[in-house]
């Protein structure tokens, strides 16, 4: 964290010399240079707590209370109406016997890995291409990013046509026209392909998003470093491997986090394109917990599945943050 603006200005109007107390305290950044603190001390320069009350109230109603209630319901047999009783870990035991739920865990993980790897790989290649001094780079940047601002449901419907099983239309039509008719598939109808077809359309939509984050990272790589490396005799690959790549670490961290969390929570595209089918071939945690609640009325069980999803997301975020931050360097 860059603390320059803070230390340069924050302490100025106060009597206490800045920095005298900044080494103490709970490590909260910002604010620096206060002599002492207590939870309810009123400093005339600090805005009154009423400033945070409206935000806190809405946050508590919409996020905090429902999340806590969700954790509680995960241990009940609630059906959405009427009373319920606590059933301990029964819902989780059911989950371990529920073939569809287990399959959805596997599908969610496979889908996430595929999306994370391919989307970021393509995003990086696009970013490197668009970062070079080619004439069409501004246009290309807009083209590749545009799908990211469109509703995922609409993208799913568009791709449903692209994946049309009929021979002459969509992707199959293109394959036929290119003389590759043998590769024609029932992309969404074939249980062994459906999940990967969904992954491909997610990647199509968000590769440009990864690209712009990598691009911002590339723009932060000083040209002098490349020049110095060139003078030292480094080739293009070596310059990428030893100069660009380490400096892209922050962009990579953000991209991996965003695409992993997005992949784990994926719902709209699956729901609109396959609704988890054929059979359970493309069922994900999000589609299962949706159906358990709103189709089968098993609200308690559904929140148990949601809790599993929440634990996955939390675990992945923490692990990624820890390992990826460790390899970040600055120019």
């Amino acid at each position: 964290m860059n603390s320059a603006p803070r230390t340069a200005t924050s302490g100025a109007p106060r009597a206490t010399p800045p920095g005298s107390a900044s080494a103490k305290g709970p490590g909260g950044p910002g604010g620096g240079g206060r002599a002492r603190w207590s939870p309810f001390r009123t400093d005339p320069a600090v805005p009154p707590w009423i400033f945070v009350v409206p935000a806190l109230a809405v946050y508590a109603v919409v996020v905090l209370y429902p999340s806590v209630a969700g954790v509680v319901y995960a241990f009940t047999d609630w059906s959405g109406v009427g009373s319920f009783s606590f059933v301990g870990v029964d819902n989780f035991r059911t989950l371990l016997d529920d073939r569809r739920a287990l399959e959805s865990v596997g599908n969610t993980l496979l889908l996430t890995v595929a999306v994370v790897v391919v989307q970021n790989g393509i995003g990086l290649l696009l970013a490197l291409g668009v970062h070079a001094n080619i004439r069409s780079r501004a246009l290309l940047r807009v083209i590749f990013f545009a799908p990211a601002v469109v509703s995922p449901v609409m993208v799913a419907f568009l791709w449903k046509y692209v994946y049309n099983p009929e021979g002459g239309a969509g992707l199959n039509g293109v394959l036929g026209a290119l003389g590759l008719g043998g590769l024609r598939q029932d992309w969404l109808g074939d249980p062994s392909l459906a999940l990967w077809s969904v992954a491909a359309m997610v990647i199509w939509q968000y590769a440009g998003y990864s690209m712009v984050i990598f691009l911002a990272g590339l723009q932060g790589v000083p040209a002098e470093l490349h020049e110095a490396a060139t003078i030292d005799g480094a080739g293009a690959w070596q310059r990428f491997r030893y100069v660009t790549w380490p400096l892209l670490a922050p962009a990579l961290t953000i991209n991996l986090m965003l695409s992993t969390i997005g992949g784990l929570k994926l719902f709209d595209q699956v729901y609109a394109a396959t609704n988890g089918g054929p059979g359970t071939a493309s069922e994900t945690l999000s589609t299962v917990l949706y159906k358990e609640a709103f189709v089968y009325g098993k609200f308690g069980y559904s929140t148990a599945v949601a809790l599993v999803l929440a634990l996955f997301v939390a675990a992945v975020s923490l692990v990624q943050l820890r390992y990826l931050r460790a390899r970040e360097v600055t120019a």
């Binding site: 803070r6 305290g25 709970p26 909260g28 603190w37 207590s38 320069a45 600090v46 805005p47 009154p48 707590w49 400033f51 945070v52 409206p54 935000a55 809405v58 946050y59 919409v62 996020v63 905090l64 999340s67 806590v68 209630a69 969700g70 319901y73 959405g80 696009l126 291409g129 668009v130 970062h131 070079a132 001094n133 069409s136 990211a148 509703s151 609409m154 419907f157 568009l158 046509y161 692209v162 002459g168 969509g170 039509g173 293109v174 998003y209 984050i213 691009l215 723009q219 932060g220 000083p222 040209a223 922050p250 962009a251 709209d268 999000s286 917990l289 609640a293 949601a306 929440a310 970040e328």
Partner: protein, 296 residues
């Protein structure tokens, strides 16, 4: 620099001052790259070509030559799609919900963050961490209790139910962006205003808030794209009502006319057009917002 480091004031200015100058490729390499990228763009755009060309074909053309460009192109599908997908009302609903949610997010997010940024110890720090928790929690965890709560308020199928949802669910991220920005902002201006006799509310509205313009832009862009395109919750809250947003309206429209590709695709084009137009007009800011929203 990391995902947990918010944007600083300078980060919204045009980047790459001096740093990151584009390296020159030899001419032959440049043409080759230009060609490769153009080919990638063409492949990438194929679904868009299919979308637009299908929207301009009648059923006979679609059956006979699904891949060829429309000859002659027809615009009849667009009029039909506009009325059968009820796109007019859906656009109004999406606009009302998005704008109202954005206003609340800006007001609540900036004032809350102002307190959290200036009161960075003790209670303020604890509350900040509490807000950050909301970024990691998947909303599915609280989805059902919240649905029941909105239902008991009688707010299913209403604007206020959706606006409450979006304000709450996007507040953690909004507070995070604002807090990071405010922390890096000099305190002198607000303090000068206080010394000159302003109260805290005046100091905030007249002095601090105008300084937040760059991050407010980022807050608007990232939240607007999310809210406008969101599908899951509006499907639960608004499905079947007359307040359906564009994605929900399109979902039921496609379900109804699934076999009529020309009509469905014309509907998709019309539904995507407003967002794409705004994106093209503001592309520099939108891309910057997405690229820098979580960047340190």
């Amino acid at each position: 620099m990391s995902a947990a480091t918010p944007v600083r004031p300078g980060a919204s200015e045009p980047s790459a001052r001096g740093a990151g100058r584009r390296r020159r490729l030899p001419r032959s390499g440049r043409y080759l790259l230009e060609l490769v990228m153009a080919a990638a763009a063409v492949a990438f755009l194929f679904p868009v070509y299919a979308l637009v060309s299908m929207a301009m074909k009648d059923p006979r053309q679609i059956a006979e030559s699904p891949l060829a460009p429309p000859a002659p192109p027809t615009l009849a599908n667009f009029g039909d799609a506009w009325s059968s997908a009820s796109l007019g009302p859906a656009l109004v609903n999406s606009t009302v919900i998005t704008v109202a949610s954005l206003l609340l997010l800006i007001v609540l997010g900036s004032t809350g963050a102002y307190y959290l940024a200036r009161r960075a110890r003790g209670l303020g720090y604890g509350l900040y961490v509490l807000f950050l928790l909301g970024i990691v929690l998947p909303f599915q965890l609280g989805m059902i209790p919240l649905y029941k709560l909105v239902d008991s308020l009688g707010w299913l199928g209403t604007y206020q139910g959706m606006v409450l949802f979006y304000t709450g669910i996007q507040l953690p991220f909004t507070v995070f962006l604002y807090t990071g920005f405010i922390r890096a902002l000099p305190q002198d201006y607000a303090q000068a205003a206080l010394i000159d006799g302003c109260d805290h509310r005046q100091a905030f509205t007249r002095v601090v808030f105008p300084l937040l313009r760059p991050i407010t832009g980022t807050v608007i862009i990232l939240n607007a794209v999310f809210i406008w395109n969101d599908f899951f919750t509006p499907l639960l809250y608004l499905g079947g009502s007359d307040k359906e947003t564009v994605p929900v309206g399109i979902f039921s429209f496609v379900g109804q006319y699934v076999s009529d590709y020309g009509l469905v695709f014309a509907g998709l084009v019309l539904a995507a057009l407003p967002v794409l137009l705004v994106f093209l007009l503001l592309q520099r800011y939108v891309i910057k917002g997405f690229a820098g929203g979580l960047k340190g």
